[in-house]
């Protein structure tokens, strides 16, 4: 069996298992699960862009916002089906990423980082300026309730979970396919040694732009999923912190490999919750309850960078070779 067939079967099985589980858990776990799926997808897009094609972006929040707004407009103003709305989100964000990728193609590391950072803070406030984008209040992102044929028992949160989990699975599977084949070798080549890559005939500039576009598309989709859970998109849905938050998840997971990506999503959801309950158990100090989650996430980030800069997989590899 080829590895791509194996991958497909793996993903299908994962999907099936998730849908089965969704029948037996309450709204809290479904809601959290939806967030895990969304964050996992976002982290995957960062891994593609930064880990595989070597472009450090600090503005993934902006790309997610583009997708979210595009999808919201499609559903709200063009009255499209929510699933179509998500597809629109993906494509519009991908297109935006294509253009942006061209614009920043000449920029090296820190300059690219600076530009994406500025984009991350600028884009949300821009949404405020245009009536059609709903101003500060934003636009609703309504995926409606579950289709009738699923029956009355199908809760709203289960519907959210199905949408998020399936969308994330499909997109991540597609990206995984992409980086395992020819494209994957290409990206690794241009990341590790762009000069050698150029010499062996790879059009470095073009590959980087393509990676940017695909990554943006995935980010846009995750943005659309996120605003489903928020009920709507607004300028305040994607503050700068989101970009850093997701980057943290990508580092912790391991920037160079998609294999552990769901770990990133899980940690991004679980860690703040654990920190919250820890904080409320420890003390009444307001400073503590508010700051402890961030402290733990940041500490974990530093530990990850210092001890497993290539991701947790590195530890496993070392173990095996012993």
């Amino acid at each position: 069996m080829t590895s791509s067939k194996r991958r497909l079967i793996t993903f299908v099985i994962i999907g099936w298992v998730l849908l089965l589980i969704s029948d037996h858990v309450g709204p809290l776990r479904l809601y959290q699960g939806s967030y895990v799926a969304t964050y996992t997808l976002a982290v995957a897009s960062i891994i593609l862009l930064t880990g595989y094609s070597g472009q450090l972006s600090l503005g993934h929040g902006a790309l997610m916002a583009v997708g979210a707004y595009a999808g919201a407009l499609a559903i709200d103003k063009a009255t499209l089906n929510p699933i179509l709305g998500l597809i629109v989100a993906t494509f519009v964000a991908g297109l935006f990423g294509l253009i942006l990728g061209f614009a920043v193609a000449r920029l090296s590391g820190p300059y690219l980082a600076g530009t994406t950072l500025a984009l991350a803070v600028a884009l949300p406030t821009l949404a405020n300026e245009f009536e059609i984008l709903g101003g500060q209040q934003g636009l609703p992102f309504d995926v409606g309730s579950s289709p009738e044929r699923f029956g009355e028992e199908f809760s709203q949160y289960k519907w959210y979970f199905w949408i998020c989990a399936l969308a994330a699975l499909i997109m991540i599977w597609w990206i995984a396919n992409l980086v395992s084949g020819k494209y994957g070798r290409t990206y690794r080549a241009l990341r590790d040694n762009p000069i050698a890559a150029e010499l062996s005939g790879i059009n470095v500039g073009r590959q980087k732009v393509i990676a940017f576009a695909i990554s943006s598309g995935a980010a846009g989709l995750s943005g659309g999923l996120l605003v489903i859970l928020l009920g709507g998109v607004s300028p305040s849905a994607f503050p700068l912190g989101v970009s850093f938050f997701l980057l943290t998840g990508a580092i912790i997971t391991g920037l160079y490999n998609l294999k552990g990506v769901i770990l990133g999503g899980l940690i991004l959801v679980a860690l703040p919750e654990i920190a919250d309950s820890l904080a409320s158990r420890i003390g009444e100090s307001e400073g503590l309850t508010n700051s402890l989650p961030d402290l733990l996430v940041s500490a974990l980030l530093i530990l990850a960078v210092v001890f497993t800069p290539n991701g947790p997989g590195q530890i496993l590899k070392r173990h095996h070779s012993k």
Binding site: G135, Q136, Q137, Q156, L230, G231, G232, S234, S236, A237
Partner: protein, 430 residues
């Protein structure tokens, strides 16, 4: 799952036999024989927390007072407070957690417009029929039974406040240029709608993004309007930190007496302004609108009572207009719970406010507008003038209460006399 329902069945049977005791509401989320769990999602950190951070603590203080005096039919009220950091994400997560993790009976005092809109949707409050009591927002959109079937407002809408302000400007400052400085979101939009409905047109309007009003922006705006002749009226329709930024910018440019300042109630608590280092001479003469007695007016029965509760149950917190409003909402909450009867259900609370809410006792000097068709709380304002000591006295010397609606209805003077405070501030309604 099965074991739980057997236990519930036994308990329910037992309750029916012993009908003298309060009904076992074990089936109603958040209610037990000894406790009622309520939840609040509001900012207690950041620039919003700077201004509104006192709200949960003040409500809890009032609830503690009631708990020490018999509770609600013997049940103690427990308030679970979550800091949503005034962000959409935070409010969505906080509200969701309150409903599905903490399993509260009802929400009370949810703060913020965009934030609560998100929280309401994310937690499916409509589908779960969770009562959403006395939200701290003046956005008139919350008075929509289709979109927000479980929500009850308490603050008058921003549109109402704008209309009253428009009348004050028309009556007292005819012929002067007028300017407005407001947030560029539904907070500011609601105000705009109100001024528009009252037929008032500003000489120029300035909008800033939420959180984007600082000294530099203030100076920019002031330099644009400082050459206007006469004594223009400047309406500051923003949060406390924005009002502070504008006033301090005026201080630095020595323009404080050039304008007549009309500060929206949201950002005009004199105590807060002084605490954030605005000069007393600057706030002397600032006009604002309020629907409550001034927090410094210790001759008012409600204020005196709440002050006493604050001293005993909210140690270390300075009593100001925010504490007053929060305790007032807490008092309304207790009356709502009582009015729903000993067999406390979510439906029951909602119906109780619809039918009996408009006659609840409260510190407000304007009437409450709850009915089967209206979820509006207070529907009017009186205009106060702050002096250098931070006290708000009726503008013009005599207290005049204006009531209106959020639409095109006229602003009229009201003869409303508020209900007498229940003894010791402990409601005994049913």
């Amino acid at each position: 799952m099965k074991r739980l329902s057997i236990v519930s069945a036994v308990v329910a049977t037992g309750a029916m036999l012993l009908s003298m005791l309060p009904a076992q509401a074990a089936q109603t989320t958040g209610v037990t024989s000894s406790e009622i769990k309520l939840g609040i999602s509001s900012p207690t950190s950041g620039s919003a927390g700077l201004v509104y951070g006192k709200v949960p603590g003040a409500m809890k203080a009032y609830f503690d007072y009631i708990n020490a005096n018999g509770g609600v039919y013997g049940r103690k009220i427990k308030l679970v407070a979550k800091n949503d950091k005034y962000t959409v994400k935070g409010a969505a997560a906080s509200t969701f957690d309150l409903v599905y993790q903490d399993n509260v009976f009802a929400l009370t005092g949810a703060l913020g417009t965009a934030t609560h809109q998100a929280g309401y949707k994310a937690a499916s409050l409509a589908a779960e029929n969770v009562p959403d009591l006395f939200v701290n927002s003046g956005w008139s959109g919350f008075n929509d039974k289709t979109a927000y079937p479980t929500t009850f407002m308490v603050l008058p809408t921003y549109a109402m406040e704008a209309k009253v302000m428009a009348k004050v400007i028309k009556d007292n400052f005819p012929g002067q240029a007028t300017f407005i400085v407001a947030q560029n979101d539904e907070f500011g939009d609601d105000a705009r709608a109100g001024f528009g409905a009252a037929g008032h047109k500003f000489t120029r309007e300035f909008f800033y993004p939420q959180g984007g009003m600082d000294l530099a922006t203030g100076k920019t705006i002031l330099s644009a309007i400082s050459a206007v002749p006469g004594k223009p009226v400047v309406v500051l329709f923003g949060t406390g930190d924005a009002t502070v930024a504008m006033l301090k910018a005026a201080e630095e440019l020595k323009l404080t007496k050039k304008f007549t300042w009309l500060a929206g109630s949201v950002g005009a608590d004199a105590n807060t302004l002084l605490a954030l280092k605005v000069e007393p001479e600057t706030i002397d003469g600032v006009l604002t609108a309020s629907f409550m007695p001034d927090a410094k007016d210790s001759t008012d029965t409600y204020v005196k009572q709440f002050m006493a509760i604050n001293t005993k149950y909210n140690k270390g917190v300075v009593f100001d207009n925010y504490v007053l409003a929060a305790m007032n909402s807490a008092m309304l909450t207790v009356q709502s719970l009582r009015a729903a009867g000993k067999n406390l259900t979510r439906d029951g609370v909602i119906k109780a406010i619809e039918t009996k809410g408009s006659s609840f006792a409260s510190a407000g000097l304007v009437p409450l507008g709850y009915s089967s068709t209206s979820r509006i709380g207070y529907n009017g304002y009186w205009v106060s003038q702050i002096n250098a000591k931070g006290e708000g006295k009726p503008f013009g010397g005599k207290l005049v209460i204006y009531t209106t609606d959020s639409g095109t209805g006229a602003v009229s003077v009201s003869n409303f006399v508020r209900p007498t405070m229940p003894k010791n501030g402990i409601p005994t309604n049913s």
